[in-house]
Structures are given as structure tokens and as C-alpha cells.
């Protein structure tokens, strides 16, 4: 009898302790985990973070299986419409930003490219490195999968919404792009700033027809001189605002934003 009472007591406790759930983008996952860890320690809360992808996060928000959807892209029109159909109002918060760096093989002579040249390379109009001042070598383009938020963002900013060439190599993860670019001489790819290391070379980019070329690093991204910077979002339902407010406020506070910068992201503002 005592045993049963104890189990009931435990079960009751567990259901009481159910905290805030964050689900979604794998790009935002490391950030969410760091912030949740610090927040849990500070205010004795119970925030849990899982990945799965931006689409998974937002559809969980519609189904009510998560409290916050993390997304590396803006919510899409049909996702908005499904939330509307379900009679749910939502809020969008930019929790941090992420800079994308264009990388090439370390032995590549080319060190800077304009947006127009990048567009040509990624849409398949420019096929050889000698067309942009490099060696006579075929360009091998590495991209992310079509449904990744990183892909969408690069397409919007750098390709001006044109489609990537069908012959680009689509890699399942950013780590795989770094690996492939580091072992392929003619390779070019794009990765988050946090993934930059010595095995690849970062390219300076120019968004003003070649007048100024900017290196990608935390300072230029923060100052707004580096152009390929994207926002990372949290979505939650308006009715849950009271529950999640403390967490969101913590992330947007100076402490939370410093934490974001330490994990390789750029602060939200």
C-alpha cells in the first residue's frame, strides 16, 4: 500500500515538474541547450530542448506538443495558415543571429568574390575558377539540403531567390560540407560562422559590386558590415506567453546574449 502511494506521489511530482519544451531547428539547438542549461540552474526551472528541424518544431507548435518552436527560417505562409485554422495566435522573437561564411579549399588562390559572382557560381552559370580569377579548375559547389533553413537563407540573400543549380551537391549536415570542402580542390560551400576552422579558407564577400570586400567574423557581423547574417527565431503561442516569458526575457538579457556569443552566434540586436 505504501509502495503504491509512493509511486502515485512520484507520478504526481513528475507531472507537476513538466517544464517548458523547446523543439525545432538543429541550427538553433546548441544555442537553446546552452541557454536552457543556464536558465534551469539560475531559476530552478525545467526547460528541455530537442532538435528535429524547423518544420518539425513549427508543426509541433500547431499540434500543441511543444511550447516553443525554434526555427532558423521565418514561418511559412501555409504554416501560418494552419495555425490560423487551429485558432492559435503566435508570437515571433529573434533570439540570436547567425552569420554564413563562404568557404573554399585552403589551396584555392581566390580569396574574394562579389555577390554576383557567388550567384553565378551557385546557380551554375560560372563553372570554372578561372572565370573569377583562379586556377583552371572546375568549380564543385556544396550546398545544404533543400529544406534546411540555412539553404533558404543563402538562396534569399546571395542568390536573390533564384534556384540553385540542379548539379550542386547537397550535404545532410554542415559538418559534412566542411569535410568535403577540405578534401576537394575545386570546392566551394557555405557554413555557419561557428563551423569555420583551419581545414577550409573563408572568402571575403562584396555586396556592392566589388567596391569593398568584407571578411566574416564576429565583429563585422555584429557591426552589420558583413552582409550574410540571418536571424534565428523562437515561435510560441500568445496564450503561453506568461509561462515562457521568463525564459525568453532571460535569453534576450545581456547575460543570455553573451552566452549566445560564446557559443558562436551573434547577439539578436
Amino acid at each position: 500500500m505504501k509502495k503504491i502511494a509512493f509511486i502515485l506521489f512520484l507520478a504526481f511530482n513528475i507531472s507537476q515538474a513538466q517544464g517548458i519544451k523547446i523543439k525545432g531547428s538543429d541550427t538553433v539547438l546548441p544555442l537553446g541547450q546552452k541557454e536552457a542549461e543556464a536558465f534551469n540552474k539560475k531559476s530552478n526551472a525545467n526547460v528541455s530542448v530537442t532538435g528535429g528541424g524547423s518544420g518539425v518544431g513549427i508543426s509541433s507548435l500547431v499540434d500543441g506538443t511543444t511550447d516553443i518552436a525554434a526555427s532558423s527560417r521565418k514561418i511559412k505562409m501555409d504554416e501560418k495558415m494552419r495555425l490560423q485554422e487551429a485558432g492559435k495566435k503566435f508570437k515571433e522573437i529573434v533570439v540570436a543571429r547567425d552569420a554564413l561564411t563562404v568557404i573554399v579549399h585552403p589551396e584555392n588562390k581566390v580569396s574574394q568574390l562579389t555577390r554576383e559572382q557567388l550567384e553565378g557560381i551557385f546557380t551554375g552559370k560560372i563553372k570554372n575558377w578561372k572565370e573569377v580569377g583562379g586556377a583552371d579548375l572546375k568549380i564543385v559547389v556544396y550546398s545544404r539540403e533543400t529544406s534546411s533553413g540555412t539553404y533558404e537563407f543563402f538562396k534569399e540573400i546571395v542568390l536573390k531567390r533564384k534556384n540553385f543549380s540542379s548539379s550542386v551537391l547537397a550535404m545532410p549536415a554542415t559538418g559534412a560540407i566542411v569535410q568535403s570542402v577540405s578534401q576537394t580542390k575545386g570546392a566551394i560551400g557555405y557554413v555557419g560562422l561557428a563551423y569555420l576552422d583551419k581545414s577550409t579558407k573563408a572568402i571575403k564577400v562584396s555586396f556592392d559590386q566589388g567596391k569593398t570586400f568584407t571578411e566574416s567574423n564576429l565583429q563585422t557581423a555584429k557591426a552589420g558590415t558583413y552582409p550574410i547574417v540571418r536571424p534565428l527565431f523562437f515561435y510560441y503561442l500568445t496564450k503561453d506567453e506568461a509561462r515562457v516569458k521568463a525564459l525568453v526575457d532571460y535569453i534576450l538579457s545581456p547575460v543570455g546574449q553573451t552566452l549566445a556569443e560564446k557559443s558562436g552566434y551573434i547577439s539578436a540586436k
Partner: protein
């Protein structure tokens, strides 16, 4: 008395579990096809949007492929797509805030219809998209008809742009060819090796060595596929690149090699079991008639174990055709129709694995991935049925 009932209960339990298995499989198939078929009722325009032009534009209808090319700025004049001599202008919906203030568009974007009407009156050669909810009395313009996704289009279009806005293209031909190519390569590589290894283990090798070799090979089957994939990316891909002097090492061949390695344990263990199950009396009869050991293996043992070898092949193909993670990492995933083994390919399972997580639930892209799943299912079922049929008809 109790024993009798107990036995009946056991039999009932067996019957129930086989019923449950069958029903589950049927439910999964129904689930898969119900989503997969829904895909063909969709339009290729992003849900909730319509394509519009100025009322004076003679264009009535555009195909999804042409529309996608228009929005990729591959045309400059309307006559290239069957219209008049005017030049072609594009307005992306997301760029609307560059022309109109938030007040002009309304707090809930309810005035967008009027803004687009205004834009079209200033730019009569423009084509743009508009949310369907904004098509009301304040909107003046012509809605361009876009054909819904047809069965034949899906198999003839060669472009896979599932997330392209405003027009998505779902051409799955490159992926079907890619899947078949990689699986075929894998089986061609794995079968001779697998059967040779099984014959050696069952017939020639000393049993004290076999005791160690067989568990080692079975261990291969327990390695997670992502480990194979990583091994392929870091080791096999650079080797292929250097040996064939290619620009890229991520090729169909890399996928085939990895899949062959992954299918080997299945093929070897099942074939070896089949050969072991050949009665010794058959071998002895052959040897006593004066046949050599090799003749016995080739003409007596192998034909006797034929059904087991066929099962091994089918299971091996099944492993190869349905494998996701390892292939995803080494084949490069370009959605183009390959013309050799040394080109990047995209396979159906890899596409599903890579895209399902980010596709909006229940959307056109989501359903398209289910259609791919249906095709994959039909493939493996077809192969199974064919092999079953041929092996039975020869007996």
C-alpha cells in the same frame, strides 16, 4: 485438462500475434499511400497563393516548369513564354515592403490586394504572386491558371526544387534513376564477394576458424549506418577521387561500395546457412561418383542451396535500396540524371531522410516525400515478387 486449455491458449496467442503483424503492415501501407496519393491533388504553387498579371496581359495559362524559369529570371520577354512583345518583370511577394509601407499593406496584410493592384497598374508587364485571401473586391488583375500536379509530370520533369518559391517543382525521375543505379552497383559488387565468401566458409574453411570468422562478419551488420557513411565520406570518397582523377569524389560508385559492404553480412550469413543445410549425403554421393570437390560445390551444393541464395540476394537488395544515412553522406545528392557511376546521384531514401524533418507537416512537399516512399515500396515489392515468381517457376 488444464494442459489442454493451456495449449489452446498458446495457439491462440500465436494466431493473434501473426494477425497483429499483418494488420500493422497493412495499416502502414494504407497510411503511406493515403498521403502519397493526396500529393497529386495539389497545385505546385505555394499553398495559399495565386499567380497574377495585369488584366491587359494575354497570358492565360502557364506550366509549372515555365513559371519556375520565369521566377529564376531566365526569360526577358513575354513572347518567349507565349505572350506579347513586352519585357517581363517579376515582383517577389517578399519584396512588397520595399514599395509599400506597413500602413498601406494593413496591420493584418488585409490591404495587400490593393497594393498589388496599384503595382500592376504602374508595371503592366509584371508578374507576381498574391495570397489567395487578398483576392477580393479591391483587387484588380488576372489570375494565371497553373495546372495541378499531374502523374505524368512527376515522372518526366527533371528538376527537384521542392521548396522553391512561389513555384515548387517535383521531378522525381533523377531520384528513381539514382536509386536504381546505386542499388544495382551495390548488388553487382556484393553478390560475387558474398557468395564466394559463403562458399569458402561453409565448404573449405576449417571449422575452428569459421567459429571466429562468422561472428566477426555478423558484427558488421551491427555497425550503425551513419558510421559506414562517415567512413565512406572520409576514406572511400577521397580514394575514388584520386583513383579516377575526378573533381568530386561523392559519386554513385561511392554509394554502391558502401552499400555493398553493408549488404555483405546479410548475403554471407544467409547463403552460408543455406549451404550448411545441404545434407551431407548429397555431397558424399557426388564425391563417390568421382566428382572433384569443386565440381561438387558448383554442380551439386550450389543448385541445392539455390533458394537460400535467392533469399540472401533479395534481402541484400532490400538493404541496399532502402538504406538512407550512409548513402546520404557519400553520394553527393545532386538531383541530376547521372550518365555514369562516377557522377553524384540522389537516391529516394536519402531524399526522404534529409527533407522530411524540415518540410511543413501536411504540405505539398511533405506529401511529395510520401509519394517517393510509395515508389520505393513498390520497387522493393516488385523485386520480391519477381524473385519469388522466378524461383518458384523453375522448381
Amino acid at each position: 485438462m488444464i494442459k489442454k486449455y493451456f495449449e489452446k491458449l498458446q495457439i491462440a496467442l500465436l494466431a493473434i500475434s501473426s494477425m497483429i503483424t499483418t494488420v500493422t503492415i497493412f495499416l502502414i501501407v494504407i497510411f503511406l499511400f493515403s498521403y502519397g496519393i493526396k500529393f497529386f491533388t495539389n497545385s505546385s504553387i505555394e499553398k495559399g497563393y495565386d499567380i497574377v498579371v495585369h488584366e491587359s496581359n494575354p497570358i492565360q495559362k502557364l506550366s509549372p516548369v515555365i513559371l519556375q524559369q520565369i521566377f529564376d529570371q531566365e526569360y526577358t520577354f513575354w513572347h518567349e513564354v507565349g505572350g506579347n512583345q513586352d519585357s517581363l518583370e517579376i515582383l517577389h511577394f517578399e519584396d512588397l515592403p520595399n514599395y509599400y509601407t506597413e500602413e498601406q499593406m494593413g496591420a493584418e496584410f488585409e490591404l495587400v490586394g490593393a497594393c498589388i493592384t496599384d503595382y500592376l497598374s504602374k508595371h503592366p508587364n509584371a508578374i507576381t504572386i498574391i495570397p489567395s485571401i487578398n483576392i477580393n473586391s479591391s483587387f484588380k488583375g488576372k489570375i494565371v491558371e497553373v495546372a495541378s500536379i499531374k502523374f505524368a509530370d512527376v515522372f518526366t520533369t527533371q528538376k527537384w526544387f521542392p521548396t522553391s518559391k512561389p513555384i515548387a517543382l517535383f521531378g522525381i525521375l533523377p531520384m528513381i534513376i539514382g536509386t536504381l543505379l546505386v542499388s544495382f552497383g551495390a548488388i553487382v559488387l556484393a553478390l560475387p564477394f558474398g557468395i564466394a565468401c559463403a562458399i569458402y566458409m561453409a565448404e573449405i574453411m576449417k571449422s575452428k576458424w569459421r567459429k571466429y570468422l562468422k561472428p566477426t562478419i555478423e558484427l558488421l551488420a551491427g555497425i550503425p549506418s551513419v558510421v559506414y557513411g562517415f567512413f565512406g565520406l572520409v576514406v572511400i570518397v577521397p580514394i575514388i577521387k584520386n583513383v579516377f582523377q575526378l573533381e568530386v569524389g561523392e559519386t554513385a560508385l561511392a554509394g554502391s561500395i558502401i552499400l555493398a559492404i553493408m549488404a555483405l553480412p546479410t548475403i554471407i550469413t544467409i547463403t552460408e546457412d543455406a549451404i550448411q543445410n545441404v545434407p551431407n549425403s548429397v555431397r558424399e554421393a557426388s564425391l563417390s561418383l568421382g566428382a572433384s570437390k569443386w565440381q561438387t560445390i558448383l554442380y551439386v551444393v550450389l543448385p541445392f542451396a539455390k533458394n537460400g541464395i535467392i533469399t540472401a540476394t533479395v534481402l541484400g537488395i532490400g538493404r541496399a535500396i532502402g538504406e538512407t544515412m550512409a548513402v546520404l553522406m557519400v553520394t553527393g545528392n545532386s538531383a541530376i540524371i547521372p550518365n555514369s557511376f562516377l557522377q553524384p546521384v540522389r537516391t529516394i531514401p536519402a531524399t526522404i531522410a534529409a527533407e522530411l524533418g524540415e518540410a511543413p507537416f501536411g504540405g505539398t512537399h511533405f506529401q511529395a516525400l510520401f509519394t517517393l516512399g510509395c515508389i520505393l515500396f513498390l520497387f522493393s515489392m516488385g523485386i520480391n515478387l519477381y524473385v519469388n515468381y522466378t524461383s518458384r517457376s523453375k522448381n
